[in-house]
Structure formats: structure tokens, C-alpha cells
Symmetry: C2
DNA sequence: CGCTATAATGCATAATCATGCATTTAGTGC
DNA sequence: GCACTAAATGCATGATTATGCATTATAGCG
């Protein structure tokens, strides 16, 4: 069915260039292009096309995958640290980072994902993380970096 | 409120590592971590965190922005062309590309976005696109490329 | 062509998500 | 510690999205 493909193409186009906040809204836009389908069909089209829906201060909106990432600001750690950080300390090549309750696990994983070269490994409890770095100077460097990310610099 | 931040961090973590299909499901996961909130709160958290919801064959799922793009397969043009292409022809430095009804505009925009160096510009009607290339050989090269993208190679 | 199998769609409705308003909880400054 | 202000949350409900089932359109095929 050629109508379906054309419609889905138009949908991609509309979503890419307009702010589409609901399937009903999309339906109206399609009507303007002489395409009349029900919300049910749009729900299926959106699924097929892999279009994402993200909430925003001013209501939700549909976006193409490309747009979602563009809309994304910073890496995970930068998001979490300012929220969860409580204090940091260290000795030798060890850093002890304290977070708010339940914050250690997420932060530790985010640190792991960053793949800091200074880091040998991390162990996280509930609100405390032990970070083993490669050297004393690595510890100092990383501590500074983490403080900065936490917005405490 | 420190509980909110910790919860949101855990949510990011859960969404990153689990397949979360609904807010109610997320609620259950949080319960397992001794965090009890209502769906309403999760709706707000998800908005605040910029988490996206994308549909899939096996139901919808929440994803972090990073994951959405990763989940995305190919650029727009590669998605559209196989769906909308009908035939292509050309002469001199001009290409005339025919698409299914209503397909020209989306395809033309996608071509523009690709920024092909062979292309000087495009003009799209409803089902026909005129592509002006920089030279006769550029025309041949681009024609081949488009045919390939359309899966007609 | 007419017939069949398959895909696409609509309809009605269930499932899920968002939000206004009231209430509770933290955070601050005496 | 107490009063005060702002943030966070729950509750109830409205809005939006997803889906089972029946129907209709489309693509092949003889």
C-alpha cells in the first residue's frame, strides 16, 4: 500500500520540522496535506517509525531519534553528580566519595562509564563509593575533576 | 529534598539498565529499592529527566536520550528512499527523481540534509524532484548512490 | 478479471500518562 | 524549636495513547 509509505514519510517530515505534541495534533497536520487517518493509525505509524516522545516543561513532544540526542545535554555523570554529591576525600590512591542516600550505585556506574584513565575501579555501597585510582597524583586529578562536575569547584 | 534527587538518580539507572515499559513498572522497580512513590510523581520525574518513550514491536519502553540515538538505525534518507522511490532518470547535470504520491517533499529535504557535494540544489513538487548537480559526472555518481540507497542497485 | 491471502485501517475501549488542587514535607531564618 | 515559604507529593480525574476485533483495501495469481 503506497498510501501508508507516503504518509509515514510525511509524518517523519512533520515531526522533524514541527512541534508535534500529540497524535491528534499530528492528525490535523496530515489533514492539511489531504491525508485523513485516525489516531489509531498514527499510534501504529509512530511505533513503526521509531519516533520518540519526550516530555518538556511545556508539554510532551514527538521527536526523531536524531533530535532526541541533540536535545540531550550532558553525559550521565554530569547530570547525577550535582544532584547526589555530598563530599569527597582521599588518601594515597584511594578516593572516598559520599553521596546522598541511594546515590552511590548510580554514580559509581556513571563513573565507570566515563572510563577515566585515572580509575582502576570503583566499589559502591549505598551512599559511599571507594574509587581506586592508579596513583596518588591520579587521585588528586580525579578529585578535582569530580568536584568540578559536582559544581563544588 | 534529598529523596527526590536520589530517586531520580535511581530512575536514570533503572531506565538505563532495565527494560522499563510503563511508569507503573518503574514504580515496582523502585519499590524493590525501598522507594515508594505514585505514578504521578514518576510522570514528573520522567519529564524532568528528559527520558524518552519509544514504541517497539513488543510494546513501548523508556530510554535515555543516549540510548534512543543508539537504537536509531540509519539517516533519514536511507529510511525514506526505499519506501518512496519510484524511478530516476537524468540528463546533463540534472536528475529527475520520481516518488510515490506526496513523497517528493520529504525526500528532497532528506537529500538536502545529506549535504551531498554533488548537489547544487533540489526542487520538489508532489511526486517529482529535480536535482541539479555540479556536473554530468556528479550526476552519474549521485544517481548510482541514490539507486543504492533505494535498494534498487 | 475474480478470488484469496495479507496488510492496513477504523472503531470502541482498555491502558497509560499528565495535571489541577490540596496536603505534606523540607528548608530557612529567627 | 517555631513560624513561614517553597518544593514535593498524593489523589482524583482528564487527556492521550495503545490495542483487540471487525472491516476494507491491496497485492498476487490463475
Amino acid at each position: 500500500m503506497t498510501k501508508k509509505r507516503a504518509r509515514q514519510a510525511v509524518i517523519l517530515d512533520l515531526v522533524a520540522h514541527h512541534v508535534v505534541g500529540s497524535q491528534e495534533e499530528l492528525r490535523q497536520l496530515l489533514l492539511g496535506r489531504q491525508m485523513d487517518v485516525t489516531q489509531a493509525t498514527l499510534s501504529r505509524d509512530i511505533r513503526d517509525l521509531g519516533i520518540a516522545r519526550v516530555g518538556g516543561e511545556d508539554g510532551a513532544r514527538y521527536m526523531l531519534p536524531e533530535q532526541v540526542s541533540a536535545h540531550d545535554d550532558k553525559p550521565l555523570l554530569a547530570n547525577l553528580l550535582p544532584q547526589l554529591f555530598s563530599r569527597i576525600d582521599g588518601v594515597g590512591e584511594l578516593i572516598v566519595l559520599h553521596t546522598v542516600a541511594s546515590g552511590a550505585q548510580p554514580i559509581a556506574e556513571a563513573i565507570d562509564q566515563e572510563d577515566f584513565e585515572e580509575v582502576m575501579g570503583t566499589i559502591a555501597g549505598d551512599d559511599t563509593i571507594l574509587i581506586v585510582t592508579r596513583s596518588s597524583s591520579a587521585r588528586l586529578a580525579l578529585t578535582a575533576r569530580l568536584l568540578e562536575l559536582a559544581g563544588e569547584s
